[in-house]
Symmetry: C2
Subunit: 220 residues, 2 copies
């Protein structure tokens, strides 16, 4: 590469229980910056599946917008995923959090029969068609299995989620803290992060390693 790679990071709200897992998102951005990549955040302009009070764990009855809440993590510098152009980005990364299974897809409710939010599915398909790498953290690898089918990923060691991935046509490989499963044929790199009981330092390790794997597949 002669120019700095630019990576699209897709968020799904702001908070582990109803949106993007905040530590995973910030540490993905940090890993990209530390490893010499530029980034642009995106999120779909849709209502959240629900809003969870992160202190009590209860639903609040509020309505919040995924793009607007994701803008908190991106400090306002974010774009509607509906306008995503695969030609402008070298790679695509999905941090985790329940938002991936509630807002970017219906995995939380529907498991292997989940539907994927159309802008998310279009972005994954466009990057795949362009032969560009995709990274995913935590629960987000499930989305890649649902869209791409025959892909090798990890979500750590959760048996139910691993089974859903296999039913979608994917292959699940167990992994522990900081480990990355790379499917070189599909140019997909995944890591468990908070799908395991982890420290914030272990999340930083996982984010660093998955970003390194993704950047290493650019242009290959």
């Amino acid at each position: 590469m002669t120019t700095k790679p630019t990576v699209a990071v897709v968020l799904s709200g702001c908070g582990v229980f109803d949106g993007t897992e905040i530590h995973e998102a910030v540490l993905t951005l940090l890993a990209l910056d530390r490893q010499g990549a530029a980034y642009q955040c995106f999120a779909p302009d849709v209502q959240q599946h629900h809003v969870v009070d992160h202190l009590s764990g209860n639903e609040t009855g509020e309505t919040r917008n995924v793009l607007v809440e994701s803008a908190r993590i991106a400090r306002g510098k974010i774009r509607d995923l509906a306008g995503f152009d695969a030609q402008r980005y070298d790679a695509l990364i999905f941090p985790g959090g329940f938002g991936a299974a509630k807002n970017r897809s219906s995995v939380a409710a529907d498991g292997p029969d989940a539907t994927i939010q159309p802008d998310v599915e279009a972005a994954i398909r466009a990057m795949r068609a362009a032969g560009k790498p995709i990274g995913a953290l935590c629960i987000s690898p499930v989305l890649l299995a649902r869209v791409l089918g025959d892909v090798e990923v990890t979500i750590g060691d959760d048996a139910g989620t691993a089974s859903a991935i296999e039913q979608m046509g994917g292959t699940h490989r167990p992994a522990t803290h900081g480990e990355v499963v790379v499917d070189t044929a599909n140019k997909v790199a995944t890591t468990p992060c908070y799908m395991l009981d982890a420290t914030v330092g272990q999340i930083a390790d996982g984010a660093h390693n998955v970003v390194a794997a993704v950047l290493g597949m650019i242009g290959r």
Copy 2:
């Protein structure tokens, strides 16, 4: 120290424009973990000054609670600052974001005449009385000047904020990315972070360095 130090981290919501700056908060937690400290997040149980749409920059008219929104950054593991006990913690750290000037104090509206949220003021005074170190990032050093008066801090190079600090009885020292101003007499360490136009990597540097300075003052 024979045991792992435990640091209280005080949040003020979730989002740079109406709460805690998310990158500064997460990278403070990461710095603590990387440097061998445990942490406990706190926030005051009060309504936010207002809610800002981080995509448009406009107020939304919603009401949100500071403790509940801060819980998003803390993944639910957070305590009401009203119950803070200085005897149980070795140091206190305040990440930045406008919430420090809107929810933890009235600095944004009242400048040098700002009032400080009572639980925040009590925590600062209790740690000072116990001779324990306090760290602050971004705009948060202003709170320390307002409560402690004659203290040496940095908020970077913003002339208006520096002037407010001086009017509060403090001394402002200019600093750039990653630099820390340490007031050894008062055991206070501060760094500019997003008070400067910074990258997320520069925020990680600032958070790392201010945490190192704070941990280095424990027990001295």
